[in-house]
């Protein structure tokens, strides 16, 4: 990769990730200030605005520093650092600034018991849970197929197999053949395909947090947001499954000498997945806002209820812990999408197994090399 290409990649990375971070305060549901429920009136007050302005100033400075660092590393240092280091530092800076703002927002939290919980008494349309089931089935089928494909061709593979590919699609690292080396990627197809489809399914059933109002905007907004998020995650799951499946097959083909590289199709599919994931995130944030915040504007002055309004159930404004609540996923207080209910043992075990499988496969891949 040339310094110019590395520079372009690091600039695009920083711009996209920085843009998503900078959007967060603008898409948050009214009443929530950096992970703290402060009430709808206080949210519009001068103190809350000052915290937000200050956070923006610091975040813009962090983004500028990250861009400069990326440019410097791209032009004067080795390319992997330029692509990896600045973005990771940007994420660390984002977390640090979030905690800084969170501590200040805590001082604005209302005293006394949390607001009453509100739920619709009517059966609402489902969040499109059929498509995620399809994604799970496709992930399962592709995972089993990839495992079988690699297993069948394992004896034919030479002693050295490709384990890494450059941006051109040509292999740039080869390792000694072993079951772990060859089977890690198809196993990842199974884990990611089923896991991402599962996350989409749980999103379709995620908890709702209504506003206590005589008008139905809040529920309607959340239902639309949840359905859109479910569709988005389902497509991500299907694209990731397709990308990993073709990758698994192509790696075997390259190993067998039937192809010299991954091919343009593989690179295009990978590009489509990345663009869709990042572009879709920004689109959802701008179109719907977190939890449908942008759609419920007409009713945003009504008090928020349920899990989002109860500060007792949140640790650092990021981690929801409610042992009574049977929900698996709940709306995030700061950011886009949903987070796990750490008070639900079933949810913790399920998502823990998913994460452990990914980390375990990654460790197997590193150790086998």
């Amino acid at each position: 990769m040339s310094p110019q290409t590395a520079l372009i990649v690091t600039l695009i990375e920083n711009a996209l990730i920085g843009a998503v971070f900078l959007l967060y305060p603008r898409i948050t549901r009214k009443g929530l200030l950096f992970g703290v429920y402060v009430g709808e009136e206080t949210f519009d007050g001068e103190t809350a605005r000052a915290i937000t302005r200050s956070w923006y100033r610091r975040m813009c400075a962090a983004l500028a520093a990250s861009v400069l660092l990326g440019a410097g590393l791209a032009l004067w240092s080795s390319e992997p650092f330029a692509i990896v280091v600045p973005v990771n530092l940007l994420v660390v800076a984002f977390l640090g600034l979030y905690l800084w703002a969170y501590r200040r927002a805590r001082a604005l939290a209302p005293a006394g018991p949390p607001p009453a919980a509100v739920a619709p008494l009517v059966v609402t349309p489902g969040g499109g849970a059929v498509l995620p089931l399809l994604a799970i089935a496709v992930g399962l089928a592709c995972g089993v197929f990839s495992l079988a494909h690699s297993w069948v061709h394992y004896p034919e593979l030479p002693d050295s197999v490709p384990t890494h590919f450059g941006i051109s699609g040509e292999p740039d690292a080869w390792r000694h053949k072993s079951l772990a080396t060859v089977m890690m990627l198809p196993a990842m197809v199974l884990v990611m395909g089923v896991g991402l489809g599962g996350i989409a399914w749980f999103t379709a059933h995620a908890k709702r947090a209504l506003r206590r109002s005589s008008r139905p905007h809040s529920l309607a907004a959340q239902l639309r947001f949840r359905a859109a998020m479910t569709r988005f995650l389902t497509v991500v799951a299907l694209l990731a499954t397709a990308m990993l499946t073709t990758l698994s097959i192509n790696v075997v083909r390259v190993g067998l000498g039937r192809a010299t590289g991954l091919g343009k199709g593989q690179m295009i599919l990978t590009g489509v997945l990345l663009v869709y994931a990042l572009g879709g995130t920004i689109y959802l944030a701008l179109r719907y806002g977190q939890g449908g915040a942008r759609l419920e504007a007409a009713d945003a002055a009504a008090p928020l209820t349920n899990g989002l309004a109860d500060n007792r159930n949140w640790v650092l404004g990021m981690f929801y812990v409610n042992r009574d609540d049977p929900s698996f996923l709940v709306e995030r207080r700061f950011g886009l999408g949903y987070t796990i209910n750490l008070g639900n043992p079933k949810a913790v075990v399920l998502f823990g197994l998913f994460l452990a499988a990914i980390i375990g496969l990654a460790i197997v891949g590193v150790v086998s090399n």
Partner: protein, 131 residues
């Protein structure tokens, strides 16, 4: 969706949460907002939305079933039950005793007999709505 079809539960109130849920659903049925055959949210959905234990909602539904307000269908969830055409003797005796107590409390509270009669008529008459 109208405002009266929102269920509100106050975790800080003295009244148990399951009773708050049951009372709210009874109130919606009494005013005709929930009509016979209307499906109710599943126990899991309602518990998740309110952030309360599954058993709490299940208990509320059981109470409502015992009182004849709700019909629980095994896998299809719960729905609002149609009023019975004739009460069984035991239920009738229990309800009469409860009604007598409520009427006495209304009189003790200073509600005029005409107003009490009007309240009773508004619930007892077919198609009536509470004011």
């Amino acid at each position: 969706m109208s405002a009266e079809l929102l269920l509100t539960v106050d975790g800080a109130a003295d009244e148990p949460v399951y009773e708050q849920i049951a009372r709210a659903i009874r109130a919606q049925i009494a005013v005709g907002a929930l009509t016979p055959g209307t499906p109710l949210p599943s126990v899991r959905t309602l518990a998740s939305d309110l952030g309360v234990n599954l058993n709490t909602v299940a208990r509320a539904y059981r109470v409502l079933e015992e009182q004849g307000f709700v019909r629980i269908r095994d896998r299809a969830g719960a729905e609002v039950a149609a009023p019975r055409t004739a009460p069984d003797a035991a239920s009738l005796r229990r309800l009469q005793a409860e009604l007598r107590e409520v009427l006495q409390r209304l009189r003790q509270a200073g509600v005029p007999p005409d107003e009490i009669r009007r309240l009773v008529d508004s619930v007892a008459s077919p198609g009536a709505r509470a004011s």
